[in-house]
């Protein structure tokens, strides 16, 4: 009988470990973790990864798309962010995580159109097969991950504190975090939340 109990305790422990492990998987990465690299197709047909950016001091990885109104409201601000920081070593890398079968407006062709219309100065990658966004733990568009030179996550969240009105923004989370990194410090705010669109997937 004792053996049976011992066995069940062991079994429960093993199951527990399994559950814990899967949880970490689905929750993605947190501030302080090393961000996983990826190899995704850019709108110009080239494959881009974090390692494509030699001499980067950091990476502004943004899960965004064509169709979400919140993503659209931030388009111009992402362009300005890239224009301001890419030369300083912090490029914007946009990734569309949506399944185009669920959201046809987010197909690779539509991405190319959108990028051409808005003259995106940054890479706009397609998460074909939807493997990258779960590894990061992105849940919405837009969803920003700021990485430092060593690909350590330093900030996760929104670009700033007012999606609807750029002129009413009082805190620029990402820019503040970059300023801290540039000064060799840790960002004061490392995590924020924002309303956004759910990432579109086929129901399992």
């Amino acid at each position: 009988m004792k053996k049976v109990i011992n066995l069940s305790v062991l079994l429960i422990a093993v199951i527990g470990l399994f559950v814990a492990a899967t949880n970490i998987d689905t929750n993605g990465i947190e501030v302080g973790d090393t961000a996983p690299d990826f190899a995704l197709k850019n709108i110009d047909g080239k494959t881009i990864s974090l390692d494509s950016y030699k001499d980067a001091k950091g990476y502004i990885v943004v899960f965004t798309c064509n169709t979400c109104p919140y993503a659209v409201m931030y388009e111009q601000r992402l362009i300005e962010l890239h224009d301001k920081y890419a030369a300083k070593g912090y490029p914007v890398i946009a990734i569309n995580p949506n399944d185009p079968e669920v959201k046809p407006g987010d197909s690779f062709d539509k991405m190319k159109e959108r990028a051409a219309d808005k003259k995106f100065p940054f890479a706009y990658l397609f998460d074909d097969g939807q493997k990258v966004y779960p590894a990061y733990g992105a849940t919405r568009t837009p969803h920003i991950y700021l990485l430092d030179a060593k690909k350590t996550v330093q900030y996760i969240g929104a670009l700033d504190n007012n999606a609807q009105d750029a002129s009413a923004v009082t805190t620029k989370f990402v820019e503040d975090a970059i300023a801290a990194l540039d000064a060799g410090k840790k960002p004061e705010t490392t995590f924020t939340k924002a309303i956004g669109c759910s990432i579109k997937t086929k129901k399992s």
Partner: protein, 183 residues
């Protein structure tokens, strides 16, 4: 002059009346509406909350009603798709102390052009409120710490028991399943 004094008196009386309202501590949304002036009203639209703190009372009811609170928007396709299931839930459980509240996160600029026609066309029977507080980082956690901010999102609560869902519902049965433990 006489009229002026009268006006002053009536304003003073109203102020006192409002304060008394506050003292009774009733946390119904109506009481808040009477005492705080930032809840906007517009023709053909539900009450518009510009500040989350004023909306928060809908999560603070401590009675025997099960509240099903859904965050949605006319621009969110999966939200619009699941609205009929919330409406059906509201109808079916009307007699069983289930209250559905649909919190629209439509943008201030689109209330007239998008939300108003949508409500006129769909004639929602559940209570609808509008939340336009732009500083989501300050209030998303208050709704539920598990919420990332993506919509649709749904809170079910009764008294101190609280469940949160950051997902879409595919039919009425899925919603019934989550409220049954509360009934």
């Amino acid at each position: 002059m006489y009229k002026f004094i009268l006006t002053v008196f009536s304003v003073a009386f109203l102020l006192v009346a409002c304060q008394q309202d506050q003292k009774t501590g009733e946390s119904t949304t109506q009481t808040v509406a009477a005492t705080v002036s930032t809840i906007k009203t517009m023709d053909g639209l539900p009450p518009i909350y510009e500040n989350y703190e004023e909306l928060a009372t809908i999560f603070e009811q401590r009675n025997d009603t099960t509240y099903v609170i859904n965050f949605w928007s006319t621009w969110c396709a999966p939200c619009v798709k699941e609205l009929p299931y919330f409406e059906a839930l509201n109808r079916k459980y009307e007699a069983e102390k289930v209250k559905v509240i649909l919190v629209s996160l439509d943008f201030p600029k689109q209330l007239e052009t998008k939300l108003k026609p949508f409500l006129a066309e769909n004639k929602l029977q559940s209570e609808v409120l509008v939340l336009t507080d732009p500083d989501a980082n300050s209030w998303v956690d208050k709704v539920n710490p598990k919420w990332s901010g993506a919509i649709p999102a749904t809170v079910v609560y009764k008294g101190e028991t609280n469940k949160f869902y950051e997902k879409s519902f595919e039919n009425l049965e899925e919603l019934e399943e989550i409220i049954t433990p509360f009934l």
